[in-house]
């Protein structure tokens, strides 16, 4: 039936249209309940499916958060163990050093004390006294004589002898005192030596005390991490983020250095491996230059591992010291050789660049300048070529930091993405449900004359009729209530996340 035929069911076109509208509204009115059910069940399917998916995603996110926490704690424990181990190593080294020297110090102190004792005893010697017969002579000298010249002479002689003896005794006493003072003066350096030795011992003990305090602090941290406290987790997470940012920045700088290094050696490499062959889409000379830089980085990495500065390869750190020392020497030698090669390549690069410049000037018809090229850029490039490999060797440190911290950061990022996905799924589920309700309402709006008539007819029969808005089946209303996520459920999920 064409549209023209439809308008011709009566002689009047307007009447025909009106009849069609009425019929159409009637059809819609009778189809109203099934339509409502279809739409509402469809929206319910969407909502429930998306909510189920969101719950699954949240569960995955929860597991991921737990796993992240475990990894973070394990990394924190390892780090703490490393610090404690290092502190113990230092204490051990200090104790070994001091105790090794202690017998020597003890012997020195004993010798010094014996010497001091002797000196003390020597300094305490009684000064020489006058002879015992002196009072007798003194008594005789005091005898008065009666003018006998012989007696007078004898007494004078005795008096003179006595005076001389007195003078000698005083002189001996002075000498003896001076000698004792000399001995006491000589004791001073020994006292100082003793003081220094005792100071050294005191410093060693203080140092060990400080180390012990550090170990205590580290052990406290270690215990906190082992206990799995939230504070420790928060601190470790923040630390990982900071490390990630810093290591990333340093790695970017290192990449800049590697690019400069590459530019230094790419051109001269074409002189060695040819400038016209390709590996895939890349020039062989470029690939060779890149390989040299990567080998340097690898050597640097192994050197740092051998020195136990980094721990990316536990097998290297676990080697016995003799083997490890050999590895240090080998990697360092290889690094030095590569640095030398790079320096030579940098020199060659300068020569080639100069030759090319001269050729270009010749081709351009420019007159050749008689000036000889400065040696400074050449030397600069050579020095740069020699230093950069050693500088790049230290990339191992930020690289290790980056690798270890990136696990935490990526885990946290993935957890955040999962949370966002769950939120989006729940949002879409709710939008789907309310879209169904919206369609139902629009449907009712389209057939409002029929609903209005129904209301009038039912009212006239004295029956209570619910308004069109209230005609949604009870289960629909319940459904509508369920569409909103319960607060308790959200809180429960959040608690799990935390």
């Amino acid at each position: 039936m064409t549209f023209a035929n439809m308008l011709n069911i009566t002689s009047n076109a307007a009447l025909s249209v009106l009849i069609w509208i009425v019929l159409f509204l009637l059809a819609l009115y009778f189809a109203r309940r099934p339509f409502h059910k279809v739409i509402m069940s469809f929206s319910k399917i969407i909502r429930n499916a998306l909510r189920l998916t969101a719950a699954s995603v949240l569960s995955a996110e929860k597991r991921l958060v737990l796993r992240n926490r475990e990894v973070l704690m394990a990394a924190g424990l390892e780090n703490s163990e490393r610090i404690v181990e290092r502190e113990f190593d230092r204490i051990s080294a200090a104790v070994t050093r001091d105790l090794d020297g202690y017998p020597n110090v003890h012997r020195q102190l004993s010798e010094l004390i014996v010497k001091l004792d002797e000196d003390y005893n020597n300094s305490a010697d009684v000064p020489p006294s006058l002879p015992n017969w002196m009072p007798i002579i003194e008594s005789i000298a005091k005898i008065e004589h009666s003018g006998d010249s012989m007696v007078a002479n004898m007494l004078a002689e005795i008096n003179r002898s006595l005076t001389e003896q007195n003078k000698k005794a005083i002189e001996d006493y002075r000498n003896s005192t001076a000698a004792r003072h000399g001995i006491l003066n000589k004791m001073m350096p020994f006292w100082r030596k003793v003081e220094r030795s005792l100071d050294g011992i005191a410093n060693s003990i203080t140092n060990i005390k400080k180390r012990a305090k550090t170990v205590d602090r580290c052990m406290n941290d270690y215990e906190k991490i082992r206990a799995g406290s939230d504070k420790a987790a928060c601190a470790l997470s923040t630390s990982a983020l900071t490390q990630f940012a810093i290591a990333g920045l340093v790695l970017l700088i290192a990449i800049g250095g590697a690019v400069i290094n590459f530019n230094l050696i790419a051109l001269p490499m074409s002189e060695m491996v040819g400038g016209a062959s390709y590996i895939g889409p890349f020039k062989t000379s470029d690939v060779a230059g890149l390989v040299i830089i990567l080998v340097e980085l690898t050597m640097g990495l192994f050197l740092m591992e051998s020195l136990r500065i980094t721990r990316l390869f536990p097998i290297i750190g676990a080697m016995d010291d003799k083997l490890r020392h050999r590895m240090i020497i080998i990697t360092f030698t290889l690094l030095a050789i590569l640095a030398g090669v790079e320096s030579a390549l940098a020199f060659m690069r300068d020569r080639i660049a100069h030759d090319m410049e001269v050729l270009r000037q010749t081709l351009a018809g420019a007159e050749q300048m008689g000036m000889t090229p400065s040696i400074i850029p050449t030397v600069g490039q050579m020095v740069l070529g020699f230093i950069l490999p050693f500088a790049l060797a230290f990339v191992a440190i930020p690289l290790e930091m980056f690798v270890t911290s990136s696990r935490t950061v990526l885990g946290a990022g993935a957890a955040w993405l999962l949370r966002m996905l769950a939120f989006l799924l729940r949002l879409l589920g709710n939008i789907g449900f309310y879209a169904g309700r919206f369609i139902v309402n629009v449907y009712d709006l389209a057939i409002f004359p029929a609903i209005w008539l129904e209301g009038i007819i039912l009212a006239s029969k004295g029956k209570k009729m619910a308004l069109a808005e209230g005609e949604i089946p009870e289960e629909d209303s319940k459904l509508a209530e369920e569409a909103v996520d319960s607060y308790e459920e959200t809180i429960q999920i959040k608690e799990h996340q935390e």
Partner: protein
């Protein structure tokens, strides 16, 4: 030991598999018109050649040939070189090449006829042998072909993967009177080249030589 040998063989095969066998070198064959009045333009050709020497890299091929009465001949090749893979050696080759061109330009004598088609055929033959990845034939001429009696050049060109570029196509006196002649001449050459599967181009402004390798 056998396992190690097998591993080494596998690694070698992998490396060989990664190696790109497709040639990435550039081959340039430049034809210089030495007929009549055009011979005086050769100084410009020398500048173009200097430009080419500056931009061509190790491994590339360059040849210069003259267009005279019968150009389909190796004898007309003035200088040819495939640059060494080492830049320092390639630079020396470029210097020697420049010297050869200089000698030619100063001693050239004009030819009575202009066999451009023969020159192109010779260029195709040479560049096919050189197995260059990108092939360029540069024609430094006014594109007015004049064949001597008895010379036949009605062979279609086989120019797939070729770029044929006309350089410094000067206008003849007749062209000034009737530009249609000039345009018809250009169209004729374009048709020949494109019929052979090649790409046609023209550069009259020698300040825009970088357009040669734009494709």
């Amino acid at each position: 030991m056998k396992k190690l040998f097998a591993l080494a063989v596998v690694i070698c095969l992998l490396i060989a598999g990664c190696t790109d066998t497709k040639s990435r070198s550039t081959g340039v064959y430049m034809l210089l018109d030495t007929s009549g009045t055009y011979a005086v333009e050769l100084k410009k050709a020398q500048k173009i050649l200097n430009y080419l020497l500056g931009v061509l890299a190790p491994g590339d091929t360059l040849a210069v040939a003259r267009i005279d009465t019968g150009s389909f001949s190796e004898k007309d090749i003035i200088a040819k070189v495939t640059f060494d893979e080492r830049p320092s050696v390639a630079n020396n080759q470029k210097r020697a090449f420049m010297q050869q061109v200089e000698t030619f330009v100063t001693t050239v004598k004009g030819s009575p006829y202009t066999d451009i088609s023969g020159g192109i055929l010779q260029a195709i033959e040479y560049l096919n042998e050189a197995e260059s990845g990108k092939k360029y034939i540069l024609i430094f001429s006014d594109l007015k072909e004049e064949l001597a009696k008895g010379y036949k050049r009605d062979i279609p060109f086989q120019l797939p993967d070729y770029n044929v570029i006309a350089l410094n196509v000067t206008k003849l006196r007749g062209d000034n009177i009737d530009p249609k002649e000039y345009l018809a001449r250009l169209e004729d050459w374009r048709g020949k080249v494109e019929k052979g599967g090649g790409d046609w181009g023209m550069i009259n402004d020698l300040e825009r030589l970088d357009n040669i390798f734009a494709n």
